[in-house]
Amino acid sequence: MRAKKIERELVQILGEENVSSDVGDLIPFERDDQFALVPPHRPDIVVMPSTREEVQEILKLANRHKVPVVPLASGINRKGLCIASKGGILLDLRRMNRILEINEEMMTATIEPGVSFGQLVKEARKKGFRVITPYAPSTASVLANYMLRGIYGTATRYGIDHLINIEVVLPDGAILQTGSAAFNQSLPYCNIVNGPDLCKLFQANPGTLGVVTKGVIRLYEMPEVIEPLIALYPDYASMVEPSIEMTRRNLVASCWPMMFTGAAMKILTDFMEEDIYMMWLYLEGDRGQVERDKEAVEKITERYNGFFLPEVPMLDRDTMIKDQIWERTSVKGWKGGNMYGCSFYGVMKSVTRYYEVTREISKRHGFDAFHYESVPVAPFHGQLTYNDPCIFWDASDTEQVKEIREIHEEIKRSLVDIGIYGWFRPFPSVVDTSKLGRYGEMWRKIKELIDPNAIMNPGKPPL
C-alpha cells in the first residue's frame, strides 16, 4: 500500500517514463563487482530525475516517508557504494548530464552529476583545456569521482583535489551551496572563504549526506608535450627511491610503480609469463622542460638499475597519451574475469612491505595472478602514496568468493599492523568508524544532524 502510494507520488513528480518498480529495471542495480564483500540487494524503485527541483521533491517525499535514497551517478564504483542495502529509491542521475559552463578565464567547468569524464574531456578540449582523469572507464561521473576523491593518472604532480564547490540537495529538500557560491552565486569559483570548506565535509561521504546536483571543478592547461616512458626494474624495492626522488624534484606528472606477477602477465598478454616490475612515467610541459626532465629521469633510472622499455604494441605511445588525456579504453586488468582491490593511502618508504605482505597473502590463498601499484600523490608531504593490491579472480567460482572474503580480512589486518594512513574511498567493507575514536563519533553525529531520518544511502560509512 505504502509502496504504491510512494510510487504514485514519484510518478507525479517525474512522469511515468522516469519511474519504475518493475523487477526488470531493479535487477541491474542489485549487485556490482564487489558483491563478494557487499551483499546484493535490490532497490524498490528506480527514478530518473532531470532537474534539481525534481531531486528536491524526491528527497522531501523520501524524508517524509523515511524511505532510503541511493544516489547513482554512473554506477561503476566497484565498491558496492550504490547497492541499496536497505531497499528504497535508486536515484539514477544520468539524465542530469549538462555541462553548464566552461569558464576559460576561471579555468573551471560547472557540471551536473551525470556528466561523464568522456563527455567533459571532449568539451574542455574544444577550449584547449584538460580534465584531470582517473585511469578508469571514461563513462565514470566526474562529480561522483571527485566527490569520492579518486586517484588520477597525474596525481603525482596535480594531486587529487579538483573540486571547488558543490550544490547539494539536503535530505529535507533544502539546497546548500558551498564556498563562494554560498555568498555570491554568480561567482562560485572559490572554496576558501566563508569559514570552513563545507565542500570537503561532503567529499568522501558516499551519497550519505545529500545529493550533489552541481559542482564547479578545476580545469588545467593542456601541456605542449606529453611524453610517456616505461622503466623496468629488478624488483619492487628498487622502485621506491627513484619514485621519491622524481616526485620531490617535480620531474614527472605521473609516476606509477607497478608489479605484475607472471600469472597476471599471462592473462594480460597471453605470451609473457615473467614477473614484471615497471614504472609508468609521464613527462609533461613545454618542449624544453620535458627535455630537461627527461634527462634527469634517465639519470635517476640508471642510478637505481632501471632501464627503459622500447615501445611495445600493447603500450604504444599513442594509446598511452590518449589514456592520459581521455582515460583508458582498456580495462584489461579484468581479462581474467574479476579484480579484487583494497586500495589505501600509506607512506612511500613502506610500500615494499605493503607489497610483500599482500602478495604473500594472495599467494597463500592460491591466487598467483597478482598486481600491485603505489602512486606518489602531490603534495608529497608525509610521502603520501596511493596503494592498490589487486588480485585477478573469478567471481563465478563460489570457492574463490569464499577465499576472497578471507583474503580481504587478512589484508586489512596486516596493512593496519604495518601502518597506513587510511583506506582509499570509504566503502562498506573497510571503514569501521568505531575504530576512529572521537573522529568517528563526530562523523556519525554530523551525519545524524544532516540526515536525522537516515534516509541517505544507509549501510554505507559512516553508519
Binding site: 535487477i27 568522456g118 590518449k322 584489461k332 579484468w334 581479462k335 581474467g336 574475469g337 563465478s396
Partner: protein, 411 residues
C-alpha cells in the same frame, strides 16, 4: 562455476535454458563499466553513444550490462515471472552488436552479447512472451514465406521478363527487396545484366531467409525455411549465391551452417558489393562515365559488425564500389565497427516503431553533420528505416541502396 538448476520435465525448455546458462560464468564478469554504450573514443577522438536502446530509454536495464544482469537472474531462477517490461527491455534490442564490439576489445567478458540477447529472446519466446508483432510476422512467414503478409506468388513480380536465365549465379532477392524496396532488387539484376553476369532466381522456391525469426528468438521456426532454401539452391547446382540484403547475407552465410549442423554449405554466399568489387578488381566492370555525387556511407550491422565476428566484415567493398563509380564519400564519425545502427533490426521496427524511427533519425542527423545530403547503404531494411526518418524530418535528404547507384553507373 555456479550450479544451475535445470527444469526436468520439459525437454525443450531444458535445451534452451542450458544454452543461456552456458554464459553464467561470463555474466559474473561484467562489472558494469558501461564502455559498451560508447563508441571507441580513442580512435574517434569524440564522445558518442553507440547503444541505441540505452540512449533512447535511459534506464540501466536497457544497457548491455543491465540485460546481462536480467539474463543472470533468469538463469539463476532469481526471477521466474517475465513481466511485460522485461519483454520490452529484451525485445527492444536491435541486436546491432555494437556493445560486443566495444566490450571484446576492452574487457575480460568473453561471451558475445548479440548471441546472449538472442538466446534471451528465445528464452522469453519459450516462456510464452513473444511479442504479438513477432508472432504475426512468423505466421506470415509460415503461410506466405515472407513477413509482410504478401502473397508468395507475387514475390518476383518486380523481375523484368527475360533478365533471369537458367544458369549462372543465384540472386537471392530477399523479402524486403521483393515486396517493399523493389528498386533494390531491380537495380541489382540490372547491374548483373549490364555486367554480363548470367544469373537466376529461385522463383517460388525462394522463401524468407529466416532472419526476422532468428533475430527475434524464434530459432526453431527458422530451421524449416533454412532447410528449404539450402535445398532449393543446391538443386540449381549454382556455386555462388548473391544477396543484396545484409540480413539475408548474414543468415545464409553464417547462420545456415550452424542451424543445420553443417560444416559448410555447398555454395558460396557473397554480398552484391563483394561480387562487384571482384568484377572491378578483375577488370570486368569499368565505369567510364563517373557519377558526380557526394554521399556518406552507412554500414549495415549485419554485413559489418556481425560478419566481423562470424567471418569477414564487409566494410571496404561497398566503399570501393562507390569510389570506383565516382562517389565522393564523406565518412560519418561513427563508421565501420563504430557505426550507429539504423534501428530497424531485431524485430524492432515492427514492435517499437517510435524507438526505431528515433534511432534512424539520429543517423540522419549524423549524416547531416558531415555536410552531405545523401546516404548510401547496402541493406534494404536500413534504406527503409532511414528513408522513413528522412520523411519524418521533412528534410531534402536522399537515401539510396548501393545497387541503385551501381545500376545507374552501369547504364
Amino acid at each position: 562455476m555456479k550450479e544451475v538448476k535445470i527444469m526436468k520435465n520439459d525437454e525443450k525448455k531444458r535445451v534452451r535454458e542450458m544454452m543461456l546458462s552456458d554464459y553464467l560464468g561470463e555474466f559474473y564478469h561484467c562489472f558494469h563499466c558501461h564502455l559498451c554504450t560508447v563508441a571507441d573514443w580513442h580512435s574517434l577522438d569524440r564522445w558518442l553513444p553507440i547503444c541505441p536502446t540505452f540512449a533512447y530509454y535511459g534506464f540501466e536495464s536497457f544497457s548491455a550490462a543491465g540485460k546481462v544482469e536480467i539474463a543472470r537472474a533468469l538463469v539463476e531462477r532469481e526471477i521466474n515471472d517475465v513481466t511485460p517490461r522485461i519483454a520490452q527491455i529484451i525485445f527492444s534490442c536491435t541486436g546491432c552488436g555494437a556493445c560486443f564490439e566495444q566490450c571484446r576489445e576492452l574487457t575480460g567478458f568473453k561471451a558475445n552479447h548479440t548471441e546472449i540477447f538472442e538466446d534471451l529472446k528465445e528464452n522469453l519466446v519459450e516462456r510464452g512472451h513473444a511479442l504479438p508483432k513477432h508472432i504475426g510476422f512468423a505466421k506470415s512467414i509460415e503461410e506466405n514465406h515472407n513477413p509482410y503478409y504478401e502473397p508468395h506468388e507475387a514475390r518476383f513480380e518486380w523481375l523484368e521478363e527475360g533478365l533471369a536465365k537458367d544458369e549462372g549465379v543465384v540472386y537471392f532477392a530477399g523479402c524486403t527487396s521483393s515486396y517493399r524496396e523493389q528498386q533494390i532488387a531491380k537495380s541489382t539484376v540490372r547491374s548483373l545484366d549490364a555486367a554480363d553476369i548470367p544469373f537466376r532466381v529461385l522463383e517460388e522456391d525462394e522463401w524468407c531467409c529466416g532472419s526476422p525469426l532468428l533475430r527475434t528468438g524464434q530459432r526453431e521456426k527458422a530451421k524449416e525455411t533454412a532447410r528449404h532454401n539450402v535445398e532449393a539452391i543446391k538443386k540449381t547446382g549454382a556455386k555462388t549465391v548473391i544477396t543484396s540484403c545484409a540480413g539475408c547475407y548474414r543468415v545464409l552465410k553464417s547462420d545456415y551452417p550452424k542451424l543445420l549442423g553443417l560444416r559448410r554449405l555447398a555454395f558460396d554466399v557473397v554480398h552484391s558489393s563483394q561480387f562487384f568489387t571482384s568484377l572491378i578488381d578483375e577488370g570486368k566492370v569499368k565505369f567510364d562515365d563517373k557519377i558526380d555525387m557526394t554521399a556518406t556511407y552507412h554500414d549495415p550491422c549485419h554485413i559489418g559488425r556481425h560478419m566481423g565476428v562470424y567471418g569477414e566484415p564487409v566494410y571496404e567493398e561497398p566503399r570501393k564500389v562507390l569510389e570506383e563509380i565516382g562517389v565522393d564519400i564523406v565518412e560519418m564519425p561513427r563508421n565501420r565497427e563504430n557505426a550507429w545502427c539504423c534501428g530497424s533490426g531485431g524485430g524492432v521496427k515492427s514492435a517499437f516503431p517510435d524507438f526505431s524511427l528515433w534511432t534512424a533519425g539520429e543517423r540522419v542527423k549524423e549524416a547531416e553533420s558531415v555536410g552531405v545530403d545523401t546516404i548510401v547503404t547496402s541493406c534494404p531494411f536500413c534504406v527503409r528505416n532511414l528513408t522513413d526518418a528522412v520523411e519524418e524530418s521533412g528534410k531534402p535528404f536522399k537515401v539510396y541502396d548501393l545497387s541503385e547507384i551501381l545500376s545507374e553507373a552501369l547504364k
